[in-house]
């Protein structure tokens, strides 16, 4: 990605930013994040279809932020995360510059986060076909079958919290599972601990998740936990017309409508 390399060098050399976060070739056939602080390291920047890690997970990380102003190579999911984080006051124009990568893999530079938002709003968050089918399959099951499916599917989980670590929206300094007076969510990996962790993760991400699959991609055991967050996305659309990350305005769960409809309250 020649444009990206050139632009990264310019930004570092002019001290416009202190670090450019992008992708580099990893070991084997993997790609991974790179933190370019010297212009010559910019030559390592790459971009291709393997680059799916959500780099927005790094822009709230203390060790990265304290370097100074950051620039981040951002695909559409990363851009969405950035807008969501900005709406939650975690990043702003002073500490972040977005080097956008369009769905056609072209570099697009944004002067500020408002321009990123405009770009992001051209696209709807759509759940992919394969997972849509899986969600439909689960819907057709009985409640008992779903219980069995999830207890079984979550059984390999050993609570490594890679899903939490990889998600840009999980930036709480002290996660709800880290509290022990009282211990809300059981820490150990057993049926209850696994179930309640994944339930709470999904509900805490409701209205904030932008469907990047970072959680699923990070899971060392390939557990399809992204089905839970996708279900919340689907429900948000069904009940409340869906949501888009937006710099201004209310979040799905921090607001309400006087005529929110339900069919289960007596």
């Amino acid at each position: 990605m020649v444009d990206l390399i050139k632009r990264a060098k310019e930004l570092i050399e002019s001290a416009a930013v202190k670090v450019v976060i992008g992708y580099e070739q990893g070991t084997g056939n993997k790609t991974r994040a790179i933190f370019v602080e010297k212009a010559e390291d910019a030559d390592k920047l790459i971009f291709d279809s393997r680059c799916i890690q959500n780099l927005a997970a790094y822009i709230t990380k203390k060790e990265v932020k304290e370097k100074g102003k950051m620039a981040v190579a951002a695909t559409l999911p990363v851009m969405r995360s950035i807008i969501q984080l900005a709406s939650e006051f975690q990043v702003n124009d002073d500490n972040l510059l977005v080097l956008g990568i369009t769905p056609e893999s072209k570099l697009i530079e944004f002067a500020n986060l408002v321009e990123v938002e405009t770009f992001v709003h051209q696209y709807q968050i759509e759940i992919d076909e394969r997972n849509k089918e899986m969600l439909a399959k689960l819907e057709k099951m009985t409640s008992a079958e779903r219980w069995k499916f999830w207890i079984d599917e979550l059984s390999p989980c050993f609570k490594c919290y890679a899903c939490r670590a990889a998600c840009p929206m999980c930036y709480c300094h002290r996660c709800t599972v880290d509290f022990n007076q009282p211990q809300w969510i059981p820490v150990p990996s057993h049926e209850l601990g696994n179930l309640e962790w994944h339930l709470m993760r999904a509900i805490h991400l409701t209205g904030r998740c932008i469907d990047c699959d970072a959680c699923y991609n990070a899971c060392p055991l390939s557990i399809p936990i992204n089905l839970l967050t996708k279900k919340m996305l689907m429900d948000a659309k069904e009940h409340f017309g869906g949501y888009q990350p937006a710099l201004k305005g209310d979040h799905l769960m921090s607001t309400f409508k006087a005529d929110d409809k339900e069919n289960f309250i007596q």
Binding site: G26, T27, G28, K30, T31, R32, A33, I34, F35, Q53, A57, Y58, K61, K62, E63, V64, P156, F158, K159, C160, Y161, A162, R164, A165, A166, R174, D178, Q183, P186, V187, P188, S189, H190, G193, N217, A218, C219, P220, L221, S222, I223, P224
Partner: protein
């Protein structure tokens, strides 16, 4: 020293499994779920994963479970009553399909559980495990057992080591311990005598990538290096590497109470978590990821060799494969070796 060598015909492996099952043996073997392999209770031979270079999770779960109860307590009029678990209830298990790097890891893990306090529960579980090691015919770029004193046909830690002699071949079985011998006694017809010297021919090629003694020596002066920060910037601080590692032993103690009764559980923990070393006062001596990453490497390659005379790494490469952000330990160690202080 002469090792008792036997030949198991390729179709006899299943027969061996069935005989052991008939003798009411519990067998843990690798199973695949969502494309990842973990060790599970095997009821039948069908479904056991084969052809993997390395399982996703290690087999340490068998002696150091991801979660285990260590005691029950209950409060009544007289006070508090505490009951430890009954070690007699811990079953005997055959661990089937362990690689030499895992088998040797058992010794390394045991040294942690026995260095100052003898962990009765761990030792008891381990004493009831019979290890069926399977030599490696293939390796990938993540493997580096030969750099840490191991090799793909290493017998250390196994009770029986099986080596497949060729792609569709029979198995050479090296009977290494009394436990191994007692297995042979249960199915002696399947274990034909052998004087095969073919083993080396079928082992994977795992080139040595670094000198582990040099690294241990270098680490003595490496504590303040900036290299830790460079290496760990992309680390997300999850527990994947610690949990899949055969020699990582950090654990947490959790009390789970229901009213007046409860249990104390031991479960896995990771030094990579940001709150791992947090004090009640709020002070955290390892406040940044670089100090936590440094701890991981130092513990495995400096503190353990220094204090326990064993290495804390078997070169299985699982951490590198499991890591969501490609913290490839082999790559990091080579770069430590290459950096001039």
């Amino acid at each position: 020293m002469n090792i008792d060598k036997r030949l198991i015909r390729k179709n006899s492996l299943e027969k061996l499994f069935d005989i052991l099952k008939q003798n009411s043996k519990t067998i843990y073997a690798p199973f695949s779920k969502n494309g990842k392999t973990t060790f599970r209770n095997a009821e039948s031979f069908a479904g056991i994963s084969t052809g993997y270079i390395q399982t996703t999770e290690s087999s340490k779960d068998i002696a150091f479970p991801r979660t285990e109860k260590i005691l029950d307590y209950s409060k009544n009029k007289e006070g508090m009553s505490v009951k430890g678990i009954d070690l007699k209830d811990i079953p005997e298990v055959i661990l089937w399909g362990v690689r030499p790097c895992d088998a040797i890891g058992i010794g390394e893990l045991s040294s942690i559980f026995n260095w100052d306090y003898k962990d009765e529960i761990y030792n008891n579980r381990l004493s009831k495990v019979t290890v069926f090691g399977f030599s490696c015919n293939k390796a990938d770029e993540y493997c580096f057992c030969t750099s840490v004193g191991g090799n793909p046909g290493n017998t250390a830690g196994s009770d029986i080591l099986f080596t497949r002699l060729g792609e569709d071949g029979d198995y050479l079985a090296e009977i290494l311990t009394e436990k191994g011998q007692s297995i042979v006694n249960q199915a002696s017809a399947l274990f034909e005598k052998s004087d095969s010297t073919e083993k080396e021919k079928y082992l994977a090629e795992v080139p040595v990538r670094f000198n582990h003694e040099e690294i241990t020596t270098k680490l003595d002066k490496f504590f303040e290096s900036e290299e830790w920060i460079e290496q760990s910037l992309r680390c997300l601080g999850c527990g994947a590497c610690a949990y899949v590692c055969p020699t990582c032993a950090c654990f947490d103690i959790q009390d789970e109470a229901h009213g007046k009764k409860g249990s104390r559980l031991r479960c896995w923990d990771s030094c990579g978590f940001s709150h791992f070393t947090i004090h009640t006062s709020g002070h955290n001596p390892r406040e940044v990821q670089s100090s936590r990453w440094r701890q991981r490497i130092m513990h495995k390659f400096s503190y353990m060799p220094e204090r326990l005379s064993v290495y804390g790494c078997t070169g299985c490469g699982r951490c590198s494969r499991a890591c969501p952000v490609d913290m490839n330990i082999l790559e990091h160690l080579i770069s430590i070796q290459e950096v001039t202080i």
